[in-house]
Symmetry: C2
Subunit: 480 residues, 2 copies
């Protein structure tokens, strides 16, 4: 037999005790058939010399293997690999993979070299009240009894945050709901997923805007829906065509982004909203109202949600705090009938257990002490300035290479490039100039090529806005 | 016309500006048909007197309504409700709901009166390194560029945590994987959900243990599976019967909890594991290996996972950090082939967006600096003491009213009550004595009534263990 020491590799830098490392390696060899059942293992003294280890470590290794049933001792003979285990052939076809493959890491580092980044509309985490959030989060851990919260009801949305949101949504958006009519989710996206799963079954038609929010569309399709695309113009989704589609397809659901539609940022007008409400009342179609950045409206307060109107229980309302806080603190909510909320909570438990009740309690406290409201007011002002700076710079520097409408709200501008300059090419040149941006594919939800992207301005300071526009100008030049 | 002021209710304690509050209320009345199109609204002066408001506030209200298109001014006549909006009847059948329904809150408070709680096996958050986690979390926010991480790759699992876990799993569990073969999830539960969704289609058979983990079973059924229940005995799930079921039903998947099986805490023996590996190689059945509390093994190190054996890509391995950290910091992982991981990541994006990359980076740092490993060693020692204290007290105080096997690992003891004492009754009496516990229904996954619950000992200090056992004793007495 070959020397056992030749197939063992002790690593003294590992945080795991030596005997566990080596026992683990030996078990692998037993299972792979390298150490066959019945094989006699070296004596404690011999192995300790070969591996240059303390004999006690070898004793621990063998004890571990005995306890786990992989080897046994025969009195006066020594230690043997157990032969009660079915013998397996050594692995043959599966290639050995390196445990420390770093190609992906390298790729990440490479594209991290850019000086600037254009996102789809993130908030600016640099001005977010992260300190306050984390302070309150820590407090929640120590002041709340986690077990008590988790166990005394089957609640998997915090009662505190439900109560705070209900109060806030009533005064700020005219939405009336009870605590049994709201579920807390990880961001609006989980709300879209769970609400859709509660409403549709495989094969149902869902109406969506075109262009539209690609990730929502993918969600509906994942859940088995067939999509019907309804054009979106400067007044929002075309409600006349929605009615025609309702008559023709009897869809189960309409997905609506009434404020700052994704990606175009247009707002559904009051007239169209009233028209839609009458369709809801007439046809009893469900509407998923995704109001993900309701708070960020610059020229007047936002139009009230459909969910605040007389919708006969057909509007399921989705909101997000992620756009207020930061991209990685994912909190959103769904408002619907008790029955739908019950379905959503049951499904959520299968996906996310009880969620993060502590973070939810912390955010509830920040609502109660006004931190969230103050931060909204502060960032609203800041983002308005950034919108204006970006729009002015785009007009001034890029002229008729681009066309866009100054958005009344939200966190990004929808910019169409002149057909002469394909956005893929612009993105390519921009990258060599130090700007990472979308090549437009994310915004292509049909055959139609908008040759457009969203520029999220909310997260960019003045210097970044100027720098980005200047690189865009240069990249467009390179396309000529 | 009735006085407008009679249907408006200014709330000076609201964090929202007065004019927005009142404009919101007026829009609701317009939409509800209470204020009909064409209605003339009171003059600024009159409304300000009636509501006892500064006239400027009323000017702001009307400006807001004009901007949003709900009302218009006729020169020299006054302000009118817009008549370009379709008239809607006032809401009729939908009952007005109170926005501040507090029945649920009350219910929560009521059951929060208990002095003690029995959980299913939570870690003790009081000894968890919460300070270190939150400190590192905060650092991650300020030292990492969130946008950069989110945008430069499409990664929705942090590369840092993937790398740390791969290194750790290799040395501690013998699992070899690349960074493209691991996905980070919100706890093991999201891993079970996503991996199952990647593997099965509606109508597929899934083998599960009986008794088994009710939430996993509900997950499989939610995703369309038909369950085949295989008995679990003191050596784990019966692999002989697994083979019979494979031949008969051609199931797509076997769900396996090899360490500390839920709920029974039994460990699948080495012999059965080897047998199962040979079945995997023969029948190519997928195995979802849920090793949620691998770290907590008291008498010897845990048996190596199936995922470390030659499983030909058929074992999908699921782990959890939630059991190490605290119930509300939900982090888990799935290890599988690149193709399955890609499917999981694509699906995860539809459920949870990019997740919380900052928390993942923070936990990666805690792996790198040894905090996690130190905490595991520390809590392992503590939990072993608690297991022994609980088991000894149960034997001493409850005698033959209960039967259980001292678990070799995990965070809970599976306790069967003598049939004379139905667990529902015990739970009822316990509650009146200040102990909140399961009534056993969570553990009933078939017609068979085990009359049993799990007592999670990890989160209980000595005083709590003594207190709980003493109430159990009393509650059993009350059943006589």
């Amino acid at each position: 037999m070959f020397a056992l020491s030749s197939i063992l590799s002790p690593d003294s830098n590992s945080p795991h005790p030596m005997y566990i490392q080596l026992a683990t390696q030996m078990i692998k060899h037993i299972r792979a058939g390298v150490l066959k059942p019945g094989t006699k293992l070296p004596s404690i003294r011999r192995l300790s010399v070969e591996l240059n280890l303390n004999p006690n470590t070898v004793v621990n290794i063998y004890e571990e293997l005995i306890l786990q049933g992989w080897v046994y001792t025969k009195p006066k003979s020594g230690v043997f690999v157990s032969d009660q285990l079915p013998e397996l052939k050594p692995r043959s076809f599966k290639p050995e993979v390196s445990a420390f493959n770093i190609t992906h890491y390298k790729k990440t580092q490479e594209s991290s070299k850019c000086k600037y980044y254009i996102n789809d509309g993130f908030p600016d985490y640099r001005v977010a009240p992260i300190n306050e959030i984390l302070r309150q989060y820590k407090k929640a851990f120590y002041s709340q009894n986690i077990e008590k919260i988790s166990l005394t009801t089957n609640a998997i949305s915090s009662w505190g945050l439900r109560a705070s949101l209900i109060k806030d949504l009533y005064t700020s958006r005219g939405i009336q709901a009870t605590e049994a009519q709201i579920a807390i989710t990880r961001g609006a996206q989980m709300g879209i997923y769970l609400a859709t799963a509660a409403l549709i079954k495989s094969g149902d038609y869902v109406l969506v805007g075109e262009p539209g929010f690609a990730i929502a569309h993918a969600t509906f399709e994942k859940l088995g829906a067939k999509l019907i695309k309804i054009p979106v113009d400067e007044k929002g989704i075309d409600i006349g065509l929605v009615e025609k589609a309702i008559k023709r397809y009897s869809p189960r659901l309409l997905y609506l982004v009434p404020h700052h539609h994704h990606p175009t940022t247009v707002i559904l007008t009051s007239e169209r909203r009233m028209h839609l409400i009458s369709l809801i009342q007439k046809y009893k179609i469900y509407v998923l109202e995704d109001d993900y950045d309701y708070e960020f409206h610059f020229d007047h307060t936002p139009i009230l949600p459909l969910a605040s109107a007389d919708h006969r229980g057909c509007v399921i309302y989705i909101g997000s705090l992620t756009k207020i806080l930061t991209s990685s603190l994912r909190i959103g909510f769904v408002i619907a009938s008790e029955k739908i909320i019950k379905n959503i909570e049951d499904h959520k438990r299968l996906i996310d257990g009880r969620g993060d009740l502590m973070l939810q309690e912390a955010v509830a406290d920040l609502y109660e002490n006004g931190t969230i409201q103050r931060h909204i007011r502060k960032s609203l002002k800041l983002y308005r300035q950034r919108r204006d700076l970006l729009c002015n710079a785009l007009t001034l520097e890029l002229g008729d290479s681009v066309s866009f409408t100054r958005p009344q709200g939200g966190m990004s501008v929808w910019i169409k490039f002149n057909k002469k300059y394909p956005v893929q090419k612009i993105a390519y040149h921009a990258k060599t100039l130090g700007l990472h941006m979308s090549d437009g594919s994310f915004y292509k939800t049909s055959d139609q090529d908008h040759n457009a992207i969203r520029i999220g301005f909310a997260s960019l300071n003045d210097k970044e806005i100027t720098g980005i526009v200047s690189i865009l100008k240069q990249a467009i030049k390179e396309c000529r």
